[in-house]
């Protein structure tokens, strides 16, 4: 479970995140929805403790991510906004390396690597260097290295960006499986369909503020729009905060 309270982050004169609160429960997929530049990536970077909030509190399974970033990171699996790979390592070696960085023992790494190669359909390219991989293959390897330690909390920053239909479908499958396993999954997106198809709970962020949160049905009800996309546009443009 991830709990975020009163998160504020300022870059010089720009207030990038301005008092964001939400809770991502176990066994639920929570979507951070907002237009480009709304503060989604900055919020996630504070969650995985590579950025320090100016104010506010982040709890990852009761660990304070600001006070003990290392311990918080150990409970997280993260697919960052920019997910480059090591071009001279194979997919298998990459997953293995991250298993070691997570402090797993050799047998667990071996078992998890095999499982992830199957789950993400990477077996045919497992022993090829990642230099020549397609965008979809790269994203899958980045996802595998994020999940090698079976984290209880998973943060995915725009995971389906640039993926084709087949890869997107595989990724959704994977997210649902993690939710059914009882994990807490947070994913950010600027695409309404993406979020509505996957998320149990949606946090709409605009200009650094939470402008609405609730289930897809609650959001529709809130704005009086049957079309979720129209509801999103209304919320993102309308500065007044509404809560279900």
């Amino acid at each position: 479970m991830i709990r975020v309270e009163g998160l504020v982050k300022r870059f010089g004169a720009v207030l990038a995140v301005d008092g964001v609160d939400f809770v991502a429960h176990d066994g639920k997929v929570t979507g951070l929805l907002g237009p480009n530049g709304a503060g989604k990536t900055t919020t996630l970077r504070m969650l995985y403790a590579l950025m320090r909030p100016d104010r506010g509190r982040i709890l990852v399974d009761d660990v304070d991510a600001v006070l003990d970033p290392g311990e918080a990171r150990a409970r997280l699996g993260v697919l960052p906004d920019v997910s480059g790979l090591y071009p001279r390592l194979t997919a298998r070696e990459t997953i293995h390396y991250f298993g070691e960085l997570q402090g797993l023992d050799a047998r667990t790494i071996e078992a998890r690597t095999e499982a992830l190669l199957d789950e993400l359909d990477l077996r045919t390219v497992a022993d090829r260097r990642t230099a020549g991989f397609s965008h979809g293959e790269r994203t899958k390897v980045a996802l595998a290295r994020a999940l090698v330690h079976s984290p209880r909390n998973v943060l995915l920053d725009e995971p389906t960006n640039g993926l084709d239909v087949m890869s997107t479908r595989a990724l959704r499958e994977m997210v649902r499986r993690m939710r059914d396993d009882g994990r807490s999954v947070i994913l950010s997106s600027h695409v309404m369909q993406e979020v509505s198809a996957l998320c149990d709970s949606i946090v709409v962020i605009s200009r650094g503020k939470v402008v609405a949160q609730g289930s897809p049905d609650e959001l529709r009800e809130l704005t009086g729009e049957a079309d979720l996309e129209q509801a999103f546009v209304d919320l993102a443009v309308n500065p007044g905060e509404v809560r279900a």
Partner: protein, 394 residues
């Protein structure tokens, strides 16, 4: 579970090492960095040896040899001298570089000689041509010796001991300039060994820091629970290992090359055996962690891969400073130098190469100072990795 710092560092080290061995650029920088020095030293020593041989067996062009048959016959008997006729225009031959020197014997030589007056000779050469200098000096020496012999004979003929006319007796133990030159070329060896310490780790240090950020894999690495210290230390260890490989390779190649060269022919008593090699490595290897830590810190700090490479280029000048300084004004090792980076290493390397055993204390002090300094730099690099401006770019 979070890996401990040491275990984490080893994990990062193994990955970076494997990555570097698959990187053609890093292998090329180790290979070329280690080859350049020995090849240059061998080439320069060969040039000096050729030049020395030329002085030992030289042609001596003389204009007007019929004017002084006895002198010419005496010169021709000297070892390695072959008297030949000078070209018709000696001055022009020298200006055109056809000859290095010409001795001109004027027609009145015999007259003056018989009258026991100083007989004039002209020794033509171009003072600006340093390659001709040893030949000119050799000829001048021979002429002086001939003159002294004749002078002694004349004194004896007049019943005076030649010793009266020799108020000084100079024992000539001058080193020939060929030896000097060969010795100064050997002075380049410490320089090349120090350069190898820097070139060896350079590529991997930039690739693992500035390169990692540019490829976008740094964020994923930093969201693992591995500590910043272990990540920085692992990358530093890998750069150190490559730097050390480069130093060992350079030292070995230099040793092989020096063993194969005809140094004795240059009048140099130079010996470089396994124990000297071991001393050289003892003096040079502690420089590797230091060079790697400087490279790691600078490339972590750099805004981009390009900027990191610029820093690396400038950094190469640093190990050359004491070397260049010592070529201009040679200095010998003194105790206060040992803890200083580069200066201390250079002093120890020179001592090791000169066949004197550098003091054990000096080696220990230098190694300890290098390690402390590199630990500080690695710690600073780890701190940089906690800065948002470094992780996400500026």
């Amino acid at each position: 579970m979070r890996p401990g710092t040491l275990r984490g560092a080893l994990v990062v080290f193994r990955k970076e090492w494997r990555d570097a061995l698959r990187d053609r650029r890093s292998l090329v920088s180790v290979g070329l960095g280690s080859l350049v020095g020995p090849v240059l030293v061998v080439g320069m020593l060969h040039a000096v040896a050729d030049w020395q041989r030329e002085v030992e067996a030289m042609r001596l062009p003389i204009a007007g040899r019929e004017n002084a048959a006895a002198l010419v016959a005496w010169l021709d008997q000297q070892e390695g001298i072959e008297v030949v006729d000078a070209p018709s225009d000696p001055e022009r031959a020298i200006r055109d570089r056809d000859e290095d020197l010409v001795v001109v014997i004027p027609p009145d030589y015999g007259e003056q000689f018989v009258a026991s007056k100083p007989a004039k000779l002209r020794l033509l050469s171009d003072g600006a041509r340093s390659s001709a200098r040893p030949k000119v000096e050799r000829v001048r020496g021979m002429l002086a010796r001939y003159g002294a012999e004749i002078g002694s004979l004349r004194l004896i003929a007049r019943g005076v001991s030649p010793q009266v006319a020799m108020p000084l007796e100079v024992d000539d133990v001058e080193l020939s300039s060929a030896q000097e030159r060969a010795a100064s070329i050997l002075g380049f060896v410490p320089l090349f060994v120090m350069l190898a310490a820097f070139t060896g780790g350079m590529q991997i240090a930039t690739d693992a820091t500035a390169g990692e950020r540019e490829r976008g894999s740094l964020e994923a690495l930093l969201v693992t629970p591995a500590s910043r210290a272990s990540i920085a230390a692992g990358k530093w260890l890998a750069a150190t290992a490559l730097s050390a490989s480069s130093v060992v390779l350079t030292a070995l190649l230099c040793a092989v090359a020096l063993g194969a060269l005809p140094l004795a022919q240059l009048g140099m008593r130079f010996r470089f055996d396994a124990s000297d090699l071991a001393l050289l490595l003892c003096a040079a290897l502690p420089l590797c962690p230091l060079a790697a830590s400087i490279e790691l810190y600078l490339s972590t700090f750099a805004r981009s891969f390009k900027e990191a490479q610029t820093y690396m280029g400038l950094l190469l000048l640093v190990p050359m400073l004491p070397g260049v300084l010592s070529l201009v004004r040679p200095f010998s090792a003194e105790a206060w130098m040992y803890p200083l980076p580069f200066v201390g290493h250079h002093a120890l390397l020179n001592a090791a190469l000169g066949g004197q055993a550098p003091s054990i204390l000096g080696l220990l002090v230098s190694a300890a100072a290098s390690l402390v300094l590199s630990a500080l730099l690695v710690a600073q690099a780890a701190r940089l990795l906690t800065r948002e401006s470094i992780v996400f770019g500026r």
